[in-house]
């Protein structure tokens, strides 16, 4: 396996370095506010999203939960600038053009979509390469993050040699290394088994605490959303509209078992589930 270029040890947090390769854009993740006003989206005859207004503050983690097929993924694609909304406007940092949004968002899909012909570290540093960094430089930059996120020693592994949880971690690093102020997470752990999923939730909570970003997490798992997010919006069945808004009851830093068994947490979870059930009717 090829060796990774010499990592700059003086630089523990790679994505905050000053010697940014390419044209930078990887400043210390300033965070950006997202604003949706009267957003509606139609696919042909099918109304997917109906008049949705949302605001996500800087460094806030917003959860979107709703029944399957309610248009949550479409909503993320709209925010990311991969699609234009049929109605209404979406602004990130006050910018509403698709290309401007695309430049500010990093997207973590449900499936890790790691490229099988690249090693883990080359997958993680794809954004750096796309911005013109040399392979050596991109690897040197990604290397410290592998250690920080529990992937040390797996830099040269191919995706098929990694477990599901590790693959998703590499995918998350890939998103992080894009250096964008906004993270869009589309059911990132839905494909994992229950044990790995809770492990990954704890891992992501820690990761977000260490790398604060504005983030939108889409999930059909109420507990996951309440555990990971500051605030959770419950969406109705298609066409998606906001049904309820709940703020997460506990700070994310606590160990997961304590958080999810807390009586306020359980009560909030039940309220969210009830809202979802009502909305699905």
């Amino acid at each position: 396996m090829r060796t990774v270029g010499e990592a700059p040890e003086k630089e523990p947090l790679a994505i905050q370095g000053d010697d940014s390769p390419g044209d930078g854009g990887a400043e210390a993740a300033p965070g950006a506010a997202i604003e949706l006003a009267g957003v509606g989206h139609v696919f042909g005859e099918l109304e997917v999203i109906e008049r949705l207004g949302l605001r996500v503050g800087e460094h806030e983690v917003l959860g979107l939960v709703g029944p399957s097929g309610c248009g949550k993924s479409t909503l993320l694609e709209l925010i990311a600038g991969l699609r234009s909304p049929t109605r209404g406007s979406i602004r990130i940092d006050g910018e509403s053009a698709d290309a401007e949004r695309l430049g500010r968002c990093a997207y973590l899909p449900q499936r890790d979509l790691l490229l099988p012909w690249l090693t883990a570290i080359d997958n993680a540093s794809l954004a750096l390469r796309n911005r013109g960094a040399s392979r050596t430089h991109a690897r040197a930059w990604a290397h410290p993050l592998f250690e920080r996120f529990g992937l040390a020693g797996f830099e040269g592994a191919r995706p098929h040699e990694l477990s599901g949880g590790m693959r998703q971690r590499v995918a998350f690093l890939r998103t992080l290394l894009a250096g964008k102020p906004v993270l869009l997470l589309d059911e990132p752990f839905a494909a994992l088994d229950a044990i790995t999923r809770t492990e990954m939730q704890e891992w992501l909570a820690t990761a977000l605490a260490g790398e604060p970003r504005t983030a939108v997490l889409v999930s059909h798992d109420v507990e996951e959303a309440l555990y990971l997010c500051d605030r959770v919006v419950v969406l109705s069945a298609r066409p998606a509209a906001a049904l309820a808004e709940l703020s997460a009851p506990a700070p994310r830093a606590l160990p997961r078992p304590e958080v999810v068994t807390d009586s306020t947490f359980v009560a909030t979870r039940e309220r969210a589930l009830w809202a979802m059930r009502e909305g699905t009717r």
């Binding site: 695309l102 990093a106 997207y107 899909p109 490229l115 099988p116 954004a127 869009l184």
Partner: protein
């Protein structure tokens, strides 16, 4: 061990067939019964003898044909992959040209070959044209399929990772299409040999096709068969070489980036 068990069955069948053939051609009783004329169907041992005795003659012509095959195949790879990328990048071009590509395969090569000789002369030109005409098609079609098989979610992912159109092509679509390209190239290389012989039959002063025409006119059937043996060896060897390359370069196989 696995290798031996893979080679053994086909080898056994080939040997058995050769043995039966040898027996039928050599054993007078059987040859008479089957009405086999030695000058029409030489025994395998006679073919081997012709290979040995006429080696100098055969080798010169084989070298000419091999050059045609390799140059024609290289041309087809360039044209085929180039076409595929072009048609992939532009919907308008694809809609306009795809039916034409398919139509080009309905032209009977045997009819076109003499015309190409009239146009390009007795040199390597018409042979390259014929090989390219037959071979670019499987390469283009397979590569295009590969380029279009890319997971749309992966393209979105690349776009949020600041990839330009060219970078999506280079870092995502091209590697995805590579195993498909090899499938097409393996089909193409086998027919490239046939294309070269067609070209030589239509008009040439050297090459195995030319030698076959002469041998056939002089009823030197053993030499004719020897030429066929060499052509088959070319096709098999080139196919094997490509399979080896495929395993080295495109080891992840088709649809590896797809859902799992």
């Amino acid at each position: 061990m696995r290798r031996a068990s893979a080679i053994l069955p086909p080898l056994a069948i080939v040997l058995a067939l050769l043995g039966a053939w040898e027996l039928a051609a050599r054993w007078d009783v059987l040859a008479d019964a089957l009405d086999i004329q030695p000058f029409l169907i030489p025994a395998p041992s006679e073919v081997a003898e012709a290979l040995w005795n006429d080696w100098d003659l055969l080798a010169d012509d084989a070298w000419v044909t091999l050059q045609e095959v390799l140059a024609g195949f290289a041309l087809s790879v360039g044209l085929g992959a180039g076409f595929a990328v072009l048609l992939h990048l532009s919907d308008a071009l694809r809609r306009a040209f795809y039916p034409l590509l398919v139509a080009s395969q309905t032209i009977p090569i045997i009819v076109v070959a003499p015309i190409l000789v009239v146009w390009f002369g007795f040199g390597i030109g018409p042979k390259l044209a014929i090989i390219a005409l037959i071979c670019f098609f499987p390469i283009t079609v397979n590569t295009l399929d590969g380029l279009r098989s890319v997971d749309p979610d992966a393209v979105k992912m690349m776009r949020t990772l600041d990839a330009s159109r060219a970078q999506v092509l280079r870092r995502l679509e091209a590697p995805t299409a590579l195993p498909y390209f090899f499938s097409g190239a393996k089909i193409a290389v086998a027919v490239a040999v046939i294309g070269a012989v067609f070209g030589e039959w239509a008009g040439s002063s050297e090459g195995l096709g030319h030698l076959m025409l002469n041998a056939s006119a002089q009823l030197q059937t053993a030499r004719l068969f020897a030429a066929v043996v060499i052509l088959s060896v070319f096709a098999i060897a080139l196919f094997g070489l490509l399979s080896l390359l495929e395993r080295r370069i495109a080891w992840w196989g088709p649809r590896a980036a797809g859902p799992r």
